[in-house]
Symmetry: C2
Subunit: 142 residues, 2 copies
DNA sequence: AATTAGATTAAAACAATTCTAAACTGTTGA
DNA sequence: TCAACAGTTTAGAATTGTTTTAATCTAATT
């Protein structure tokens, strides 16, 4: 299988051995044509239900964190009880659909580039994150 | 005391009775000249240590949430285990100092206004949040 | 003052995440 | 090839921020 080498390489580069569980994680994260957003529980469910591979939460967390550290995944800031991750690691922004608790990509071409006129002394900008919260018009905005 | 009426009004407008604990919360949140950012625990500590008023976490949470709902406080989205609130309810953006886990206001004049070229069908934009993560140059960026 | 609706509180429940430690597996080099 | 080691998996426990509960208390209304 062609992709196995790619997965193994990504794992090795993240400081991880290519184990059965981790290769399944790679299959879910890196084989789809399209990038997507997910929570840790989403990922665990996909592996267990679609790929029929039992996997512990601890393994999912440890692999995801290694990928994030290496830059193969991004974490998105939302005020939510759970963390959201993104397989799209390019520079882009997000809509957050509050009705469905779902992230939607906002391409670089769909938003004007952010220009910051101030800098914090002695600090470097690590990232600029934009979150556009949306909800259906007739919404209880509590 | 002049401010008592203001606090009582804010509480009443948030659907809350002006109790001893809640007036202390108001004193902390709404008397300072400058706005500030805080976590629930920060607030509890200030009330107990500086104002010597015992207060339960449940009361802090319930009051903060009522103020947020009414618009007297804003909650800021950061990927953090805890929630950050802001007594500055005007439209503004933030720097997040990752070294100190501290928010810094970014005035409207310090960042170009965000122009979004796409809209999500059937959805209304509720807010546009920008978070600029900063850290000292020589930083372990794990 | 009595009544009642709402508030306070300690403690329990909850949920996401992290940690632990024992069993297991991939890798390496003899 | 295979023993030995280092790294991995896992269930379950621990941790942490937040929410809920239910008993007690208090502000508001009469
Ligand atoms: Mn959490
Ligand atoms: Mn939490
Ligand atoms: Zn995305
Ligand atoms: Zn602010």
């Amino acid at each position: 299988m062609i992709n196995l080498n790619i997965y193994t390489k990504k794992l090795r580069e993240s400081g991880l051995r290519p184990t059965r569980q981790r290769l399944k994680i790679c299959e879910v994260l890196f084989s789809p044509e399209k990038t997507f957003h997910f929570t840790v529980n989403d990922l665990k469910k996909i592996i267990e239900e679609k790929l029929s591979e039992k996997i512990s939460l601890a393994t999912v967390y440890n692999t995801i964190h290694a990928f994030k550290k290496k830059g193969y995944l991004k974490e998105i800031s939302i005020n939510s009880d759970k963390s959201y991750f993104d397989t799209n690691t390019t520079d882009h922004q997000h809509f957050f659909d509050e009705d469905k608790s779902e992230l939607i990509d906002c391409g670089d071409d769909e938003i004007d580039s952010i220009n910051i006129k101030r800098n914090i002394t002695g600090k470097k900008i690590k990232s600029i994150e934009v979150l556009i919260r949306v909800a259906s018009d007739n919404q209880n905005q509590n």
